[in-house]
Subunit: 119 residues, 2 copies
């Protein structure tokens, strides 16, 4: 058994908006992602979703407000809340959510992933 170094795991991939699974516990998955640019507005009707920033700056657009998440900070999007992650510079994220949470929630986009690679 050994610890997981987040930066070293992030070094293993470069594509944006394509989360990688680095762990599972209690029916929840730990994902790492690199993002830059704009995602799509979507929501997860049954799942809360945690976003933690380790590098860069996440600007989470909600319908009524915008939340900025800096390195060393986390933000939980409650189930049912429409959200659109955006980042001006390349931003590294850790996500925590139930196994089976859909990539783009209630929305189907060209870049929607049906499953995540394991790292």
């Amino acid at each position: 058994m050994q610890a997981v170094n987040l930066e070293k795991k992030h070094d293993l991939f470069s594509e944006h908006w394509s989360p990688k699974r680095i762990g599972v516990l209690n029916g929840q998955q730990i994902l790492l992602a690199k993002i830059q640019g704009e995602f799509v507005f979507h929501k997860h009707d049954d799942e809360d979703e945690l976003f933690m920033v380790t590098k860069g700056r996440l600007v989470m657009e909600l319908r009524e407000e915008t939340v900025v998440v800096e390195p060393g900070e986390l933000f939980v999007v409650p189930k049912g809340v429409e959200h659109k992650p955006t980042a001006e510079e390349e931003t590294h994220l850790l996500l925590f959510e139930p196994l089976g949470t859909k990539h783009t929630g209630d929305v189907q986009a060209d870049f929607t992933l049906e499953s995540y690679e394991e790292l």
Copy 2:
């Protein structure tokens, strides 16, 4: 709605081995803790437990091996596995585990907490 800054939350308390709850999602709780010295060996029969280090150095003793967790790293103790967190210097942790997970698992100690303060 706003982001949670982990370092600022850690600044709000000083006691060791006394986790504070900073969030709940999907039936799981996010705890922050400061530790120094040695805890007790214990296990959680039904819960996996995630430890992430943000400052210091966590030395997680298991029965057969020892896992060192540095800042920017995380380690998941699987359910049923006996573990004893230790830290030479003061170490800041983020824990992720199901709501209701017992502080010292299957062991009762003088310092066992029955509930956690919300931060």
